[in-house]
């Protein structure tokens, strides 16, 4: 249920930016969510739909950009893609993986007017 806090976090950023950058409506929001961010996208969409009502994002479209998770395998020295933190290296089968990306949770850009 922390998706509700995240949705409110998104709205908070929009409101701060609207004052700073001088816009009054947000039409589209591009959100980058990494595979290991611990975010349930459908729950986030549901939560955002609730919190945006009556705000500058009341009609905004939420576009989710899914980012893959990558890790560096200590055993074979390769950068590999993983889906979970406990995945084995798809090349050598070892578990000595240093996760290097995948926990992103970021507003990338906005379409505003």
């Amino acid at each position: 249920m922390h998706e509700m806090s995240l949705a409110e976090g998104v709205l908070q950023i929009l409101e701060t930016e609207s004052a700073k950058q001088g816009f009054s409506q947000v039409k589209t929001i591009w959100l980058e969510i990494g595979a290991l961010a611990g975010v349930e996208v459908s729950a986030l969409e549901f939560a955002f739909d609730v919190v945006r009502r009556g705000t500058l994002a009341g009609n905004a479209q939420l576009v989710i950009i899914h980012l893959p998770a990558q890790a560096w395998c200590l055993s074979c020295g390769q950068i590999v893609e993983i889906r979970q933190r406990y995945d084995a290296c798809p090349i050598c089968g070892g578990y000595q993986l240093q996760v290097s990306s995948g926990d992103e949770m970021r507003i990338k850009e906005l379409e505003v007017e």
Binding site: G9, L11, E17, F23, G38, G54, M105, E111, V112
Partner: protein, 307 residues
């Protein structure tokens, strides 16, 4: 929840009271003060920009905010902001962390599922160590102040945060709690998070380490079922090991799973009931607190510790 500072209007309670907004933090925690409960309809938006200005004899399509016109597109513009959704929480967490560092306070964020024995482990720890070092506790629960009452019964200062419907503590709540609790310099501060192995993983509170507590009555596969939490923790306390003879719990397997999600995690096996293994945990606390005090002028440390 208030969308500007993250306060839950009507939900979060610090010791039964709504966090006040009329306060001064001792740490340099500046809050943007604002109006709660506004309905967003009052005039803080500028007049809508006119996209198309039909001046006499002059059709100007470049007066919208984007200053250009493309056929079929309205005069909207793109704003690259690249902002972390948790940025606000993280900035509060950094303020807490800085204040804690200045005070020489070693803060731990205790996370686990409900019923892992967090509070019992904490009560035992406080009872055993209270004559040796300064301790303080922030308790997080959805409702009731029962845990803070249990902690205060040991003689250690404690403050309760009730999150209401919230599933985790956030850095802003902890900032308010620090302000009320005023933990002493050079103390160890335990922040007992809401019992939940999912949401607290994402919210930095400004702690030095997250400590995950897993009891052997829960099943050895918890670390891979809830990988985010075990990945975020630096120390795993495997609690209730006195019950191992009665359970089908594979300790080796559990440790292997924990190392899969977090190769550098430290693991201690303890029982808060019998005290087995607790000395290792105390040693870990002592050494970390000493590390925290390294570099502070020795006279100051002595004064802080009352030596």
């Amino acid at each position: 929840m208030c969308t500007v500072c993250g306060c839950s209007t009507g939900e979060t309670r610090v010791e039964g009271k709504e966090p006040s907004h009329e306060h001064h933090h001792d740490h340099s925690h500046t809050h943007d003060h604002h109006h709660h409960d506004h309905d967003y309809s009052h005039a803080h938006s500028p007049e809508p920009q006119t996209m198309f200005k039909p001046l006499v004899g002059n059709h100007h399509y470049g007066l919208g905010p984007a200053r250009v016109h493309a056929p079929g597109l309205s005069q909207t513009r793109m704003v690259q902001i690249e902002q972390d959704i948790l940025g606000k929480n993280n900035s509060y967490a950094q303020q807490n962390r800085r204040w804690l560092a200045e005070q020489g306070i070693f803060a731990l964020n205790l996370v686990s599922s409900p019923g892992s024995g967090k509070t019992s482990l904490l009560v035992r720890t406080l009872t055993d160590l209270k004559d040796e070092m300064r301790l303080a506790v922030i308790e997080g629960d959805q409702e009731t102040a029962q845990d803070a009452d249990r902690i205060r019964a040991t003689g250690c200062p404690a403050i309760q945060i009730n999150t209401g419907k919230g599933c985790h503590l956030d850095a802003h709540m902890v900032g308010h709690a620090l302000e009320s609790l005023q933990p002493q310099a050079a103390s160890i501060l335990f922040i007992e998070n809401v019992g939940n192995l999912v949401c607290p993983a994402a919210f930095d509170l400004g702690e030095a380490h997250k400590v995950a507590i897993l009891s052997v009555t829960e099943g050895e596969d918890k670390p891979i079922k809830y990988p985010d939490m075990f990945h975020a923790a630096n120390l795993l306390l495997l609690n209730k090991i006195d019950l191992l003879p009665y359970l089908q719990f594979d300790v080796e397997k559990c440790i292997e799973y924990a190392r899969r999600v977090n190769p550098s995690i430290q693991i201690l096996q303890v029982s808060a009931t019998t005290g087995e293994g607790m000395q290792q945990w105390y040693q870990w606390l002592r050494m970390n607190q000493q590390m925290r005090l390294l570099g502070r002028p020795s006279t100051q440390v002595k004064a802080e510790l009352g030596a």
